[in-house]
Structures are given as C-alpha cells and as structure tokens.
C-alpha cells in the first residue's frame, strides 16, 4: 500500500529525513514512532504528497506520489497534525466540500458525508459551525474528512494529540475499528498508543529509520534481560554471591530506605545466556549465601526502554547534517 524508497528531505541547512525506506502492506495498522522533531510529520507530509522528497520515491497503491500525484492522492485520506479546518463552515458543509474535492461522484456525496459523520461520531454536531467545536470534536471532524472518500489508506498525524484521556480512548477504539477495513499509518510519540492500536511499528529518530518490526520484535531488541529480586540480607555479600555466576552480566544492589536489611538486586543476564537457568542458579546462590529471597520479578523490556535505547543511540547523529 505504501512503498517508500530512500526518501530524503533536505531543507538546505537541515536534513529533516534521510534515506528512509519502508513498506506498509494492505490491511496493516502501522505506528510511526519517534520523539518530537524526529521527522515524523515531514515523512508523513511526503507520503501524502504535501511535500516533495529531495530524493527517493514514494508509491501509494502503486502510484508514484511525484509523477502520478492525483491518482496517488485519490487513494489516501490524510489527517494533518493540527487538524486544520475552515472554521466558518458547518461540519456538514465542510465534509460535502471535501467529498466534492476528493471526487466522490455527485449522487453518492450525500451518503458519503453521512457515513463519515457516523464513522467519526460527529453526527450530533453536523450543523454546528466548526469554529464553535471543541478540540476533540475538531479532531474527529478532521478524521471524518480523511474518511469521506472511503480511501483504502489512512495517514493520520498524531490523531490523539491534544485530546483528554477519554477522547484518546475513543479515538484509539475508532482507529482499531477502521483498521478492519483500511490500511492505517499513524504517527505518535506516545508509546502506549502504539501498543494499544498497532500491529507493527516504525521507529524514526534524527530523521533516520532506526527500527522496524512488530511490537514483540521491537521489545526483543532490547539487549540483555533484567530480573528484579528482593532479598533479605547483607547487600555486599549477596551481590558478591551472584556476580561471578556464569551468564550474569551485571548485578546492581541497593537497600530500601527505612529497611536496611532488605536488598533490591537487579540482575542482568548476558544476551546469549539462558535467562531462566541463570536465574535458577542465582536464586540458589543467594539462598546459599544466607539471603531470604522474598520476591522475584522478571522485568519485561518495555517498549519505552526499547524506544529510549533506539532513539538515544541516534540522537548524537541528528546534528551532523
């Protein structure tokens, strides 16, 4: 559905996006993830045909966005970040305009407007001037706009930005529902959003694509696995007991404030070691050293940690344009 090949956007002194290549297949919901200023919006604008790429090519539904721009744009619904709308128009008037602009045939236009009003749950404000709507409603009107021509591909730039928690939940639910009939690429800097709605994520930092894969694959990319142990005993002695075990990469010990006899050990295993058996041996060693093991918590690599690792590694390179 989207084929991006070596896409670069050069603003003269700043390279906003460099050599980004990826595919989005039909029916996927893909998260486009990155910190603020990473090049998310610039990339999406190039995909939507609002900006031209300095080099590289983008194909939407088989049409090149540069050479067959109209055909490519007819296949996508794009929702820009700030949800810009004509505030003087009523919601229904606006959507009718957008439907006509997107070449929805005259006799189907009314039905298309009604359908998009319903899909985005804005039927109740159809006759309200857009200028009087709240941020949440405007965001949904922009979504209805993206949906009005029923395009196979939706490109949503931070669809939940500026919404309150309830609205965020609603929009995510809506995106998941739309994902059943549309291919969706949505950008965000909020990780739970990707975990909540996306099957796959692209991670961009400093204008480069630094990772790509399913959520599980990305989590697995975090090198080394950590286990947190709460043990009663002497911190130094306990740490020494496990530090030399095979498969252990690092041990960090700290005592709890107010309870100096309770030690928190963070055990990090080597990436190539069998984490489970290392853990078993570590617990046995702790018991042998006189420690009272109270709690063992395997720390699942959160997407946050993966994200931080992936994007921070790229950060220094961001300035060397």
């Amino acid at each position: 559905m989207i084929e991006a090949r070596h896409v670069t956007k050069d603003y003269g002194s700043v390279v906003a996006v460099r050599d980004v290549s990826f595919d989005v297949a039909q029916g996927e919901i893909v998260g486009f993830l990155g910190p603020n200023g990473a090049g998310k919006t610039t990339t999406l604008r190039m995909l939507a045909g609002f900006l031209g790429a300095t080099s590289g090519s983008v194909k939407i539904h088989g049409h090149d966005i540069a050479t067959e721009s109209l055909e490519a744009r007819a296949k996508l619904g794009y929702m820009p970040e700030a949800a810009p709308l004509y505030t003087e128009l009523r919601v229904r008037e606006y959507l009718a305009f957008r439907a006509a602009l997107k070449r929805v045939p005259g006799r189907e236009r009314k039905a298309a407007v009604e359908r998009s009003l319903e899909q985005a749950a804005v039927t109740d404000v159809a006759e309200t001037p857009i200028g009087q709507l709240s941020k949440g409603y405007r965001q949904r009107v922009a979504l209805a706009d993206a949906l009005v021509s029923n395009p196979p591909l939706l490109i949503l730039d931070e669809p939940t930005a500026g919404l309150d928690p309830n609205q965020i939940v609603e929009v995510r639910k809506l995106v998941r529902e739309l994902g059943q009939s549309h291919t969706i690429l949505l950008s965000t800097h909020i990780l739970p959003e990707v975990e909540a709605v996306c099957e796959r994520a692209l991670v961009i930092a400093g204008g480069r694509l630094v990772a790509e894969g399913t959520i599980a694959e990305l989590q697995a990319r975090k090198r080394g696995r950590e286990t947190r142990l709460t043990v009663r005993g002497d911190a130094e002695k306990l740490a020494a007991a496990v530090r030399e075990l095979a498969g252990v990469k690092e041990v960090r010990a700290s005592t709890l404030a107010g309870a100096p006899e309770i030690v928190e050990l963070v055990l990090e295993t080597l990436p190539d070691a069998d984490a489970e058996s290392t853990l078993e041996r570590a617990v046995a060693a702790l018991v042998a050293a006189g420690g009272g093991v109270r709690q063992v918590t395997p720390a699942r690599a959160s997407l946050e940690a993966v994200f931080a690792e992936l994007t921070q590694a790229e950060e220094p390179k961001a300035g060397d344009a």
């Binding site: 996508l76 794009y78 810009p84």
Partner: protein
C-alpha cells in the same frame, strides 16, 4: 483543473457566510452612491449647457479617479485572504493533499472573488435605471463601461490573488496588493507627466484611467481588453507556480 468546482463553491460560501463580503459590499455601495449622487447633482446645476457627456459617462469615465480609488481598496480586501488565510490556518495542507491541481485551486479561488466583485457592481445598474426616468440612456456606453470595470477588476483581482500567495499574513497580502494595483494605476498617470514620445505612449497604453475614460464613451479598444487579460493570465499562472512551489519549501 481538477477540483475547480469544489474550490469555487467553498470559496463563495466562505466569502458570503463571513462578514467580509457584506462589509465590503456596504462600504462599496455607500461610496459609489455618494459619488454618483454628487455627479448627478453637479449635472443638474449645468442645466442650460449642451454638454456632450452625461452623468453616466462622468461616473464611469471622467470622474473615474474616485471609482478607481474605491477599487484600490475593495479589490485587495477581496483577495487578501485567498491564500494567506489557508497558509496561516494550515488548511492548505488538507487542500493540497486532496486530488486537486494547483491550477484548479487558483482558478476556483480567483473566479469566486471575481464573481463577488461582479455581485458588488450589480446594484449600481439601478443608478442607470433611475436616471432613465430623467432622460435617454445610451445602453451601449453603459455596456462598454461595465466591460471596462470587469476588465480592471479581472486584472486587479488576479494581481491580488498572486500577492495573497506571497505571504501567510492577510495584512501583508493586503498591502502588497494595494501597492501592486496602485503601481499599475500610477503608471497610467505617466501619460500626463511625460512629453509625447515612447514613454508617454507606453503609459497611455497601460493607463487604467484612460481605459475607463474610453470605455465610458463607448469605445471598446481590443488592446485594452488584451492588456487586462494578460495581467490576469500572467498573475494567475505565476500564482499556480507559487502554489506548486510550496511542495518544495
């Protein structure tokens, strides 16, 4: 040309549901009414003179400096928001990612302001209808006068549309348009400044004032129409190139 009809309808709707068009219409008609009234009063005081011209000719022609002054205010005000507002509010992003061509957008917007311009002039036909009660009216000169006004408006509005694409600020777009249109007007004044010769002829040819003066007497010179048309076409062409260039910004 794709998207032209939708852009045109949206532009008309936006113009007429906001106060801008109505405020301009009221101010415009007040000014025109005052000018026309004073011209008529002036002519009634010349009762016994066998003058060649009547109030209609005076209104559109000899006294057209007033008329052109109001155009210098009304036309830039009509066009200032066309592109500047789209870029300021960000709606240009949704517009340019729809399957529309720059030419379609530019023409849709331009024809909407041109239609509005014509709608503003429409009530002034009543002046002539009222005058008919007092004497005979040469409808040919009325027709050619309105043709002249249409030509001037077409050129001014195209220039204003171009200026609106130059800035994200409506105020700057307004000022740029006033400068450009006033510049065109001042060029025509050169006709009275320079000695007969090349400069004089060039200025006379470019003069919007002389154009209205001729047309108010029923003289339709094709060169005048071509001049207005070429300003309009050139401005609109450049505007569509400017719109296209935003992709590379």
């Amino acid at each position: 040309m794709s998207g032209f009809a939708a852009v045109y309808r949206r532009e008309m709707l936006s113009l007429w549901v906001t106060p801008l068009a109505w405020v301009l219409l009221v101010v415009f008609l007040l000014l025109q009414g005052t000018i026309f009234y004073s011209i008529v009063v002036h002519f009634t005081s010349l009762a016994d003179l066998a003058v060649e011209t009547g109030p209609v000719e005076a209104y559109f022609g000899q006294e057209s400096v007033f008329l052109l002054m109001t155009l210098l205010l009304v036309c830039p005000a009509l066009t200032m928001r066309t592109f500047a507002e789209e870029r300021r509010s960000g709606t240009i992003e949704t517009l340019l990612t729809a399957p529309v061509t720059p030419a379609g957008i530019v023409l849709g917007k331009y024809l909407a302001v041109l239609t509005t311009y014509c709608a503003m002039w429409a009530p002034t036909v009543l002046y002539v209808v009222v005058l008919r009660k007092t004497g005979s009216i040469d409808w040919h000169t009325v027709g050619s006068s309105y043709l002249g006004l249409f030509g001037v408006g077409a050129a001014y509005l195209a220039l204003g549309t171009l200026m609106s694409s130059m800035s994200k600020s409506q105020l700057i777009a307004l000022l740029l348009a006033i400068f450009a249109e006033f510049g065109l007007f001042v060029l025509g004044v050169g006709e009275y400044v320079f000695e007969p010769g090349l400069l004089h002829d060039v200025c006379a040819h470019l003069s919007i004032g002389s154009q209205m003066e001729e047309m108010s007497r029923g003289i339709v010179d094709l060169r005048r129409i071509v001049f207005d048309g070429s300003i309009a076409v050139t401005s609109l062409f450049v505007t569509s190139r400017v719109v296209d260039s935003w992709r590379w910004g």
